[in-house]
Symmetry: C2
Subunit: 439 residues, 2 copies
């Protein structure tokens, strides 16, 4: 049977999450968690799944962008080795006409990421390994071959990247065993959505501690007095030893961020996440210098060039990769290597639809084969929408269990795809139309 | 008759420019100049035209993104005043669900720009004035009301912007008269495309000088020896007093840019444009510090936050705004104000389809009402595709004549729209398909 990719199926999948205010924050009051979802199939019956995460309107635009990448995939042999995955990533991000739409940012770059991630899912599945193990089985030479070093070499050369990976090589087996035994540290954002009442916040914060989480996160940024009260309530609920991160979702200018975090500092927030524009490297550096709380960002950083600068400018204390915003696994390897060079911990962004499932593999790969450490590192966890996945992320005692099933853990169940596909799926009917939600 | 916007018509327009290698550069070997083109119409018969410029594949994605903005426009009263244009710009860039696709960058941000610019075309046309005059007739208070200061206030507050505009107010009438009399300085890129032979380069460079241009531009970045030879030929052709800018179109890493420009420096390039990634603020600063040639960038800078940092980091000697990449006139006013604050000249990017027509208005407005200067300032000119416009840019003795017709000068002729619309227009047939051009 043919080992060629023959099918390239794009779905516009939407969940009406805005009805419960799940996911509500200072910039995104009413998200409808959505995925522009891609299924690849080969003639010999293997599949690869990938997607972009969006919050509702515009999911169709991203689906159209994924569709535009079809010619790069259909007719191509199923990827199996690093060289295949390097070539596909290169082709998708170097189409000069499509690159013009970014370059390397926004809709077209996210679409490339969905295709790259689907290819990794297919390759790892064919190899019979979870993606984190599949990655950690590659040699340092194979791993650097996956990275596009363009625009990075003033800070990270191929040789330096090789040295980082080689230094981590001797400990790989031991750390993989540790990971299988103990899982990877997680934190939960479930208590802290802005749309929740104080009572719900306190109840969920206490539940999080009881469930074994050592860190929770609160959304902030709409009203400073509300935030001080919520932070005080949360601190009282969890006690002094549980970490409380706060997340402003890009709400502030620099001076506002400094003022706000100075007010919250007495309650010892672990980090302030996305205090300002994700494009503002120098702004993040100013926020970091201007108040006592550590700074985290990255879920909306457009590409490896922005991460490079965040590290160069000493603008962040924590690097928050996202599995589905940059150009997939390959570009995230570049970002992990940059963070390792600077010794800055990577604490991935997750939540949404399927982001926990994907990004756990990247953090675990980082632990086993790149940074070699889980010190000060945590993966975000949000307990929404996991029921739609065939191999959902599993949390045990506040830690992500290491995935054992082959692939990238993000295959949505066929019934969920059918039920939530737009415009024909029945779940779509619950969603407000753009016209209703518009001006 | 109704003064409400009732029609919102999106066209996918493509020109098969790759057949002549017009527009070829180190990153874009075969562009098919295209426009995702929007026509607004009111019940009482007025129109507003706007568009995104792309180079072929993916033009349909941008058209889909413009389409997604329809609910914000249809049913809205025709814009006439600054307040209307401020509100529309705000609504288009603050839809939280669509913002997720950027934020404020790439496809969705370019689409917002097309709609904003169409609204400006409509408002200026209804006022019976070209856009540059329409803008220059507004008070400083009206002008600052058009700007979104979010993420700018650490560098430019509303008060500072007002002070800049007020300082320029007394000289407005005199400079407008000067502009009508003399036009605005231009330079031409027509001689310098990478796909052209040495003979064609020399012939076109001489023609440019004969036509009155004081500056030309060469594309560089594919082969250093070729570039040294071409630069030497061009310098010999134009003599010592004509400026020759060079443009690498993002081709290099920092060290490569420094090495290359050090080799070209003996021929006295006026600036090096886009030496590296448009996202790399710190990289541009390093290139500027590392070699003697002045640095220009901006045509692919995603938004005002990137421009803010380019200026903060002293990374550029020239700011190159683009009329159709950021969110339209409003965001470009923010960028003009940022450049004025730092005293850095704005030298707009143009060419493509209709970009000369649009951006001349912004440079002229800058001269009349913002920076108050045309010292060291030039607008790019490329002599392609102007025949498709009803009110094309006019060059006289190497200068842009000030537009006199109402509107934004970028209304494509109905026959051109029909002939080049995709997928049904006949001109479309000449274009290679994505399948042919793909991997």
């Amino acid at each position: 049977m043919s080992q060629t990719v023959t099918e390239f199926e794009v779905h516009d999948i939407r969940f009406p999450t805005s009805q419960q205010l799940d996911g509500s924050d200072a910039m995104n009051p009413d998200p409808d968690y959505s995925a522009a979802y891609l299924v690849l199939r080969t003639g010999d019956g293997s599949e690869g799944h990938g997607f972009c995460f969006t919050i509702g309107r515009g999911n169709d635009i991203v689906a159209a962008a994924i569709e535009a990448l079809r010619p790069y995939v259909v007719g191509r042999p199923a990827p199996t080795r690093a060289a295949d995955l390097a070539a596909l990533h290169h082709d998708l991000t170097h189409d000069s006409q499509l690159r013009w739409l970014g370059p390397e940012k926004g809709v077209i770059h996210m679409a490339a990421g969905a295709v790259v991630n689907a290819a990794w899912d297919m390759a790892a599945t064919r190899a019979g390994r979870p993606v984190w193990e599949f990655l950690a089985s590659m040699t340092p030479e194979e791993l650097v071959s996956l990275v596009d070093f363009r625009y990075l070499t003033d800070v990270l050369t191929r040789q330096e990247a090789l040295a980082i990976l080689r230094a981590a090589e001797p400990g790989r087996a031991g750390r993989a065993a540790l990971l299988r035994e103990r899982g990877y540290p997680a934190y939960t954002t479930s208590p802290g959505w802005l749309g929740y009442s104080d009572e719900k916040l306190v109840r969920l914060a206490k539940e999080a501690v009881a469930d074994g989480f050592g860190q929770i996160k609160l959304k902030v940024g709409l009203d400073i007095e509300d935030d001080v009260r919520r932070m005080e309530l949360a601190r009282a609920a969890v006690g002094p030893s549980v970490r409380i991160a706060v997340d402003a979702n890009q709400r502030w200018d620099v001076a506002e961020a400094v003022r706000w975090m100075t007010a919250l500092a007495p309650y010892e927030p672990h980090w302030i996440e996305e205090p300002t524009s994700p494009d503002d490297v120098l702004g993040h550096a100013a926020v970091r210098a201007g108040q006592p709380v550590k700074v985290a960002t990255g879920e909306h950083a457009a590409n490896r060039v922005v991460f490079k600068q965040l590290l160069q400018a000493r603008a962040v204390d924590f690097v928050q990769i996202d599995a589905a915003r940059v150009a997939g696994v390959n570009e995230n390897i570049a970002i992990l290597l940059l963070a390792a060079k600077y010794g800055v911990p990577v604490c991935p962004h997750a939540g949404g639809v399927g982001l926990c499932e994907l990004v756990q593999h990247l953090a675990m790969f980082d632990f086993v084969a790149v940074s070699g450490s889980w010190e000060d590192r945590v993966i975000e966890y949000v307990d929404h929408l996991h029921e739609h996945f065939a191999d959902p992320a599993v949390i045990v005692d506040g830690r992500y269990a290491a995935p054992r099933a082959p692939g990238f853990s993000a295959r949505m169940l066929p019934g969920s795809i059918a039920a939530h596909s737009c415009p024909d799926g029945p779940a779509r009917q619950a969603r407000p139309t753009a016209e209703e939600a518009g001006s």
